[in-house]
């Protein structure tokens, strides 16, 4: 996996009107979050243009996660399609009191991706696809990616504050799509302890990132 942020740090948040200050980035992020909330509300009322806005704002992150979990680009595309349809269908169930719109969308994408890798049929296909994996996936690096890289760096920083076992357990579960029982076996942990490591690690991550409660 490549860091998008190997651009010069000072350029990360820059726009055509000059270099963005950290507080501008924060405000921009907050506005973006508001827009996503609004877009979801409009989706619930059947507004297809709101869905297009939501898709444009989240699709590269969603597809990136799907590719990371299922690996095969064609299957990742199917997963992304299923996930966005579910977002549309269940948009009225989104509750901004319980979390951000982006994490709600990503939770749905993740769940679909994990369901996909857990199905036995897909597992064989994934292994085959993995042989071809090093073909580059088409992507473009935009200003949006540069902004996202700031967040990626923050998350990486927070991850580095976890114990190695916590980090490995979380990454195997989240990106590998493995169950906590499988994670325990892969990390040679006593049965039942991986779930504790995952929970402790997420709590630490949450607190380091200042999200949720």
């Amino acid at each position: 996996m490549r860091l998008v942020s190997d651009a010069i740090p000072g350029e990360a948040g820059s726009t055509s009107s000059g270099r963005a200050r950290p507080e501008d980035v924060t405000v921009a992020a907050r506005d973006a979050a508001q827009e996503l909330n609004e877009a979801l509300r409009c989706c619930a009322r059947g507004d297809q243009s709101a869905f297009a806005r939501l898709y444009d704002a989240c699709s590269s992150r969603a597809y990136g996660l799907a590719v990371r979990v299922v690996r095969d680009p064609a299957q990742a595309e199917e997963v992304t399609q299923e996930a966005f349809l579910e977002v549309w269908r269940t948009s009225a169930r989104f509750d901004p009191e319980r979390g951000s719109a982006l994490s709600w969308v990503m939770t749905i994408v993740h769940r679909k991706a994990v369901d996909r890798v857990r199905s036995a049929e897909a597992a064989t296909r994934r292994d085959v696809a993995y042989q071809h994996k090093n073909q580059p996936v088409p992507h473009d690096v935009t200003a949006e990616a540069a902004h996202a890289s700031l967040e990626a760096r923050r998350v990486r920083g927070a991850l580095s504050s976890l114990t190695q076992v916590q980090r490995e357990a979380i990454e195997l579960a989240y990106f590998g799509g493995y169950t906590h029982t499988e994670v325990a076996s892969m990390l040679q942990l006593p049965v039942g302890t991986a779930k504790t490591r995952i929970r402790d690690g997420l709590i630490r991550l949450r607190d380091a990132l200042g999200v949720g409660r």
Partner: protein, 250 residues
């Protein structure tokens, strides 16, 4: 079972298997602390996605989705104490395009009813009613059986049924999550399919999330059926709107 709270993290990052997930969701329905914790851990978990490289999906995906949402109606919001009369009924399926999945989903988008008396009847307390704290319940034994087979049926409204069968124990358990209520005056009846002969196997209790031990011979059954019946049940399942979850190599 005491450390069920400890599953919150694994649940938040989808690291539970189907049975654990269904059970934890049942627990979530009753535990506000866990709901709050899961929300916050999901928020943290979703940020992990920021460390995956963003990849622009093929343009055709956008076109397909925009075309497809035009044909899909968003679900209504969950309204506390929604009047029963407005809940989906199997007949709704008749107005939809004749797609099998839609039909099945609409049928199952309704689901459940029946009181404590029936629940007692299906758990068959006379078979073994020792203190639950000392001996695993029949349901737990099925779920923990070494030969347990799992069948997952998902529905378009996001609800799900997981069936666990143990041939050794000759029993099966159905675990539902997120099922909407049966239409007014009707119940969800469970059946065991024996090569096309449907044998009544109990009822689903009220509520979206349930765990029911089926009565009858599960080992020789070829599938499990769920149908919508008038209160009290029927001698034979009403086929319209019925859902069959087939078992493998029965």
């Amino acid at each position: 079972m005491n450390d069920v709270h400890a599953l919150s993290g694994a649940y938040a990052v989808d690291a539970l298997d189907d049975v654990e997930r269904a059970r934890f969701e049942r627990h979530l329905a009753e535990c506000g602390d866990c709901r709050g914790e899961v929300d916050s851990l999901r928020e943290a978990g979703a940020l992990l996605a920021a460390t995956a490289e963003e990849v622009t999906p093929p343009g055709a995906l956008r076109e397909r989705l925009l075309a497809e949402v035009g044909t899909v109606r968003p679900l209504p919001p969950v309204v506390a104490s929604a009047p029963r009369a407005t809940l989906p009924t199997p007949s709704v399926a008749a107005h939809r395009p004749p797609r099998v999945r839609t039909f099945v989903a609409a049928a199952a988008a309704a689901v459940i009813t029946l009181g404590a008396a029936t629940t007692l009847a299906i758990t068959r307390p006379w078979d073994d009613a020792p203190a639950p704290s000392l001996v695993a319940s029949p349901t737990d034994r099925v779920l923990a059986a070494t030969d347990a087979e799992r069948y997952v049926q998902k529905f378009e409204d996001g609800s799900k049924a997981v069936v666990v069968r143990s041939k050794d124990l000759n029993q099966a358990v159905i675990i539902t999550s997120g099922m909407s209520e049966a239409p007014d005056g009707s119940v969800y009846e469970l059946w065991l399919d024996h090569d096309g002969e449907m044998v009544a196997a109990g009822f689903m209790p009220d509520g979206p999330d349930n765990e029911v031990l089926l009565s009858g011979d599960a080992a020789t059954a070829t599938g499990l059926g769920i149908s919508v019946e008038p209160e009290g049940g029927s001698p034979e399942p009403t086929l319209e709107g019925a859902v069959i979850i087939p078992f493998e190599n029965a």
